[in-house]
């Protein structure tokens, strides 16, 4: 059976109040970028171990252990495949391990960023990175409407099930045909919502002037400075260690 409630929950993950979440979004983005860059400095094992350890304070600050665990679990198969492929082509256990840790490092960096950064902040970041308003705004609107549309989907499916509709019956073609009672109301409702939204935007003078003003201003606090310095130190150490430790040769399989 379908699991509509589970579907909705995925979109309902809330950003909790943590020391990390309170940081300036730019700081969070710089930290994220740093820890994506760090494992890429060199393919050597010490660098990978270092970038893992250096992220521990961030995991604690963002209380993202659960998200990290979940993300790693989700990519387990990929990780295993990577080890096997690397080992088969290089026969170097150390190298394969380094490649895996590099991937793990990057997964952790993303998990921390996604746990501690609200969608609205990501929208603001995009604006700051000079992404056009139309795009950043579409992003925010999409996030705003995902839970609404997810609720619609639940209501549509339960409405049809209550009319004796069974989704999982018959062969493939039959199944595709069976999606019609779900898809059509979904599309029509989404269009209607979109239309009313456009009306509301018009009413609120959206796009009336070239330069909108901005209500939200992010300030840099002490925590931001500390973590920015931390990022600089980590990257510097990474560069030093990276040039001192022996490099692996370029090999057919890397990540």
């Amino acid at each position: 059976m379908l699991d509509p409630m589970g579907m909705v929950e995925i979109f309902r993950t809330q950003v909790g109040e943590t020391p990390y979440s309170r940081l300036n979004p730019s700081t969070k983005f710089i930290l994220f970028a740093s820890f994506i860059a760090l494992p890429l400095i060199s393919a050597s094992l010490p660098i990978q171990i270092f970038s893992l350890i250096a992220q521990v304070p961030l995991i604690i600050l963002s209380r993202s252990e659960r998200r990290v665990k979940r993300s790693l679990k989700a990519s387990l198969l990929f990780i295993v495949v990577l080890v096997v492929l690397n080992y088969l082509t290089t026969h170097s256990l150390e190298f394969s391990l380094a490649m895996v840790l590099r991937l793990v490092s990057m997964i952790i960096a993303s998990a921390i960023f996604m746990t501690g950064t609200s969608p609205a902040e990501i929208g603001d970041l995009l604006t700051k990175l000079k992404v056009p308003l139309q795009i950043t705004f579409s992003f925010v609107i999409a996030l705003r409407f995902i839970p609404v549309l997810a609720d619609d989907v639940v209501m549509i499916i339960t409405s049809q099930v209550s009319r004796g509709y069974e989704l999982e019956r018959g062969g493939f073609l039959e199944k595709v045909k069976r999606l019609i009672p779900i898809l059509i109301p979904m599309i029509i409702i989404a269009i209607r919502r979109g239309h009313q939204l456009a009306e509301a935007l018009e009413t609120k003078a959206f796009g009336a002037i070239e330069r909108r003003s901005s209500y939200v201003v992010y300030e840099y606090g002490r925590g931001d400075w500390i973590l920015l310095i931390y990022a600089i130190i980590v990257i510097t150490i990474g560069l030093v260690v990276g040039t001192l430790t022996p490099q692996f040769q370029l090999l057919p399989f890397r990540c």
Binding site: Q14, Q196, E202, T203, K204, S213, V216
Partner: protein
Amino acid sequence: MLKIENVTFRYEGSKRPALSEVSLEIDRGEFLLIAGLSGSGKSTLLRLLNGLIPHFYRGEMKGRVLVDGVDTREASVAQLSKKVGLVFQNPDNQIVTLRVDREIAFGLENLGLPREEIIERINEVLKKLGIEHLRKRGTAELSGGEKQLVAIASVLAMKPDVIVLDEPTSELDPFSSARIAKVLGNLNREGVTVVVAEHRLDLFAPKANRMIVMSNGRIVREGHPRELLYRGDISLHGVRPPSVVKLARKYGVVGAQPLAVGELIVALRRGVRIDRS
């Protein structure tokens, strides 16, 4: 202040006009209640007031609408938004941001107001509607009633001369509906001009000082709510007098035309003839 002059409007693709030869004037400080069955033309009338018709909806329009003497065809919806604020029926489809304070800021940012002024207006409007506690809440986690209050706040923050609402309580429970009616009544007392299309006459008639009844795209009755609701013939247009009116009749209240429960009680206690069967 707002003037609709002999407007007939037909939506593109529709055979019959949604509005036929409608004329209406709305003055500053009024609380105008628009009653009528679904499809009687209420929403179309409201869309005329802020220029959504003819700018957003295509169709054939005769006559004209003047907002402070300016023909709505000559002004953009954005320009008109500073004069006429429109709140829609479904709060879910008009909230565009993820947090309450940002939602209220949204229209103001679009107008390019400086940040200090935006903050000031947010504070002011949250206080006015008694929803200061919602300031930092996510818009998705609000109840229907709270969402509608936020939608009203976000329009109010743009300081329009008139706030126009299209069935603001139709998706809400009775408690939230009563709250919306109360909030609008208070705003009107503070000088805000309110125009509201509603089915809940029991809640809104006591607040209004003028009422029109629409039927088949025409204004068929106009007057004070007391006058209209105590005259039986609005039933012809599908509009039913609220329960308080029915009860006043049942109890044989004479010499008073109560619209709110409180008024009815007062009238009954004053010893007007009570015939309890």
